[in-house]
Amino acid sequence: MTARARVAVHKFSSCDGCQLAFLNLGPALLDLAAAVDIVHFAEAGPVDPEAEVDIAFVEGSITTPEDAHRIQTVRARSHHLVTIGACATAGGLQALRNGEDLEAWLGHVYAHRDFVAALPESTPIAEHVKVDFELWGCPINARQVLAVTNALLLGVTPSDEAEKVCLACKRAGAVCVMVTRGVACMGPVTRTGCGAICPRFGRDCYACYGPAEGVNTRALTTRFEGLGLAPEDVARRLRFINNAAPAFREAARTVTGDD
């Protein structure tokens, strides 16, 4: 009998919401713990950050010199490294500070700037180490983590859900909010996986799952302008949860005419 798989959940700069994909499993959490050895997951209890593991799930972006060092150790000790969520995969909402005057911004929030250690930019894990699989989403959900865990344990490549929210909407029979009500919905350029919850709630998708495959951001931003959005309003739609994802960052630059 082969040894039980060893799993770790590591945390960098984030809101903890993606770790809840595990902690909110309900009684299924106990079933997962029975199937694998969870050797490091500080919020749940087990602490062994330098343990060798088969699968390391990594939440959060890199924002401090110490964390830039720590992710190297995690990579070296992990067979598979899987990023979970928008922070780890695209730098997160906190990447809104990239390219801004961080010194001035820290001064805006903290009285004593010199007490706070921070790198100039918030960066995704893949800018620092090789990532084996990325789970997009803010937040990711239980279905995603269980699917990727099972795939890796069975030795198969996890399937990458890169199609657009629009397709999930159509399958769910949801009425298109953009076509019927002129709402500036990000669904046509956003990756599925959420279950198209926003359009199904009658509101705009705000791209919390990041860019889909083969997106035509130009067509969408032109459509938004046709709906009456000013360029800065269009840019804000792109510069949100996944603002540092290249497809959104470039599209926002094109809209505002920045270099």
Binding site: S14, D16, G17, G26, A33, A44, P46, H108
Partner: protein
């Protein structure tokens, strides 16, 4: 006693939410230094909000905390509706309370079963505890799942839900969804009362201290979605006057700010709420509470019982509000932005959460200020650590001292801006 020099480094304190450090130095049998340091990487939300439309604020502030996103959303819409002089009416009020009940149930059950209880029963974590206390842990995780599903009904998902907007909700649940949820809530009442009984039997230390409790107070309901700010020393403030009495300081080596009430530490959270508003629990629930511990309580270790009582309350409260559910014609009222200042507060699972926004005529945010519960509790946690260690006795071995420090900190369920989980304890003795 033999003189010894000890240097303990615990790089990671498990089962708390947040990145911080504790420095404990003991010399000549006395605490020389005891400082809670928080060095979670700064995420600068107050700055990110500047230039954003009011319509984006609920989705943005949710990302401050994956465990209590509803609290951030409700305090924010309270503040923005205050700024725009919008009254979304009784249906929206009821449903926001129901959504909030879901978050309390989820957050409290997570904390009780996976973060706090293992300490008192001698287990490393909730999963290990489940091997001997399987029914208790499964019951707790099932209650947590019920809280999540309640949030899902009104928000689409439980982490960063998408249902709340300024003026109301994006969608009203169908009557059939509400009826199915009501059945589950009714069925969970007995489990919640059993949970209260169980927490009351835990071997909790008895450590009475003198502190001020602060919470919202609502005219006719247990505090949750709105109210005035009151304390057990007679403070009674409109939320607009918060800044006249509460001041945040930035201290060295901390990325969270310390908040003080008229210059002194104070407590927010479940124990503070129960201390101040136990008279507002429904009579049938009060009648079924265990005789011990009794509230008001000055023993922070009773917080776990307070969380269980609030869980039972939230299940009953959600059932009460959904019992009178009528699907409205529209789930939100129209909102016209204007140049204004708005202030809003609500009771996050961990305590009072206060927001202030300045907007321009188009409804873009000019300035934002957010005071989370954990920065309010931070000074109180330090004060408690001093008192608790003195009462406990400093000549215990390092493991026992460390465990006691961790337990004291966990009583507050700190969500240190909901970031990383490292609390470094360095003990120096000579």
């Amino acid at each position: 006693m033999t003189e010894r020099t000890v240097d303990i480094r615990v790089p990671i304190l498990a089962r708390v939410e947040g990145e911080g450090a504790l420095h404990l130095a003991i010399r000549a049998g006395a605490i020389e230094t005891l400082q809670l340091r928080i060095y979670e990487p700064p995420r600068l939300f107050e700055r990110f909000l500047v230039g954003r439309s009011f319509t984006e604020v609920p989705d943005m502030v949710a990302r401050i905390c994956g465990i209590c996103p509803v609290a951030y959303q409700i305090s924010a819409v309270n503040a923005l509706e205050d700024a725009f002089e919008v009254d979304p009416g009784p249906w929206v009020r009821d449903m926001r309370r129901v959504l909030y009940c879901g978050e309390w149930i989820q957050s409290h059950c997570l904390h009780i079963h996976l973060l706090a209880a293992p300490d008192f029963l001698g287990y490393a974590d909730g999963i290990a505890m489940a091997r001997d206390h399987g029914e208790v842990v499964r019951r707790g995780l099932a209650l947590q799942a019920l809280g999540n599903d309640l949030m899902r009904m009104l928000g689409g998902r439980s982490v960063h839900p998408v249902g709340v907007r300024v003026g109301g909700f994006h969608r009203a649940p169908e009557v059939a969804e509400v009826d199915a949820m009501l059945e589950r809530l009714e069925a969970a009442r007995a489990d919640a009362l059993a949970l209260v009984e169980w927490t009351a039997t835990l071997p909790l230390p008895d450590d009475r201290q003198d502190f001020d409790s602060v919470a919202l107070r609502h005219r006719d309901e247990y505090p949750m979605h709105a109210g005035r700010i009151v304390s057990d020393r007679g403070l009674d403030l409109d939320v607009h006057d918060y800044e006249r009495h509460f001041v945040e300081e930035h201290r060295e080596q901390s990325t969270a700010l310390f908040s003080l009430l008229d210059g002194a530490p104070y407590l927010v959270g479940p124990l503070a709420r129960l201390n101040l508003a136990r008279d507002q629990l429904p009579e049938p629930l009060r009648a079924r509470l265990p005789a011990r511990p009794s509230f008001p309580s000055t023993n922070m270790f009773d917080s776990i019982v307070a969380r269980a009582i609030e869980t039972a309350f939230a299940i009953g409260e959600a059932a009460r509000l959904l019992g009178r559910y009528r699907r409205p014609d529209a789930p939100a009222v129209a909102v016209t932005p204007r140049e204004a200042v708005g202030i809003g507060a609500s009771e996050a699972p961990r305590g009072l959460l206060w927001h202030r926004y300045e907007t321009d005529a188009a409804g873009l945010v000019r300035h934002a200020r957010i005071v989370p519960p954990t920065s309010q509790n931070q000074a109180r946690i330090e004060q408690d650590l001093h008192a608790s260690l003195a009462a406990f006795g400093l000549d215990h071995d390092d493991d026992a001292l460390r465990l006691r420090c961790e337990q004291v900190i966990r009583n507050y369920d700190p969500c240190i801006s909901c970031a990383t989980h490292f609390l470094r304890l360095t003990t120096e003795r000579s």
